[in-house]
Amino acid sequence: MKKVMLLTIFAALMLISSAAVAQTATGTLTVTATVNGSIQLVFNSDAAGVALSSGAGTNTATLAFGNVSAFGAISAGIVRSTTATTFTVSSAVDVLVSKTNSASANYTLKAQLGAADAVNTWQVGGTTVTNAAQSTVTATGAYAANSNFPVAITVPFTTASGTLISNTINYTATAN
């Protein structure tokens, strides 16, 4: 009788033990990625210049000087100079180049007009830019800082009043 009782208790314990063991399933997910260094260029409004009318913080922005003239009133943020035959309007524009996963110390910035302009002269950061080829604006640009590279347009006095002047400037930053 005692033996039967012991066997019964043992069997019960075995059942309880079996029920208490949690059922589990396992799996492994192997994850692979290849990191590449990269840089990014965005335009920002400069406090001293004309506010970008669109695209600030992106790499596709619009700078609108509005109405300009050699001697009349001029909008805030525009710097004007005149010669005997031309006048130049200029606005500060910030270029911000960021780098990631790169040991590059600085960058080279180049600019090029999107379309030819045989009448007006365009400059970025004091460097004349045309559509013929890229012009180097700086060879030692500092990363992660807003760098002011003013955009200037020199307009001849012979230009008819009301003439719209518009062009695209393409910028390229290359990690050194």
Partner: protein
């Protein structure tokens, strides 16, 4: 004489019946097999490709691979990989994968899913599943997983923007990490 003929006919008939019976018996056989089985309970886990994520290698098994391809803070990404955030210090690339847990013979209605890194994360990397930063210690991702359905999970790689050698990851070479998952019946 008539009686003798009758007797012969009866005997002939009986012989034919016996022969017929014998022939039927030769084409019929019967038998009984007593089969037994023991129904064992259990659960299984498998990884499935999510329509919004990268295509898994060995999908449908419990040992799958997820390849993000080339990743960077600003450059193009592979199909199924997104970049939900970029900060000065780090950026995150994400894909989605599915986990499907199947159970049989259990009274359990849900499962708990946990995960851990098989080894310490490579320099410049952090791994997250559903916002839980993984370590080599097991951590719970979900406590009420539904059985027999592909449950999507976000897999995030948080990558330092620092340069190699300055706290950032190695560049230009594949970096591989294994994540262990465990599903436990509730």
């Amino acid at each position: 004489m008539l009686s003798k003929h009758k007797t012969i006919r009866v005997l002939a008939m009986m012989a034919l019946l016996l022969a017929a019976a014998s022939a039927v018996a030769q084409t019929t056989a019967t038998g009984v097999i007593n089969g037994t089985l023991v129904n064992k309970n259990g659960i299984s886990l498998q990884f499935d490709t999510d329509p919004a994520g990268v295509t898994l290698g060995a999908a449908g098994t419990n040992a799958a691979t997820a390849n993000f391809g080339i990743v960077s803070a600003f450059g193009p990404l592979s199909a199924g990989v997104t970049r939900p955030s970029v900060t000065a210090a780090s950026y995150t690339v994400r894909t989605i994968f599915d986990v499907q847990v199947i159970q049989g013979g259990l009274n359990s209605t849900t499962y708990t899913l946990a995960a851990n890194l098989a080894a310490a994360a490579p320099t410049g990397f952090n791994y997250k599943v559903d916002a839980v930063t993984l370590t080599t210690a097991s951590q719970t991702l979900q406590t009420n997983g539904a059985y027999s359905t592909a449950v999507p999970h976000n897999l995030d790689l948080v990558i330092s923007t620092a340069a190699p050698g300055a706290g950032g990851p190695a560049v230009g070479t594949p970096i591989t990490t294994t994540i262990n998952f465990t599903a436990t019946a509730n």
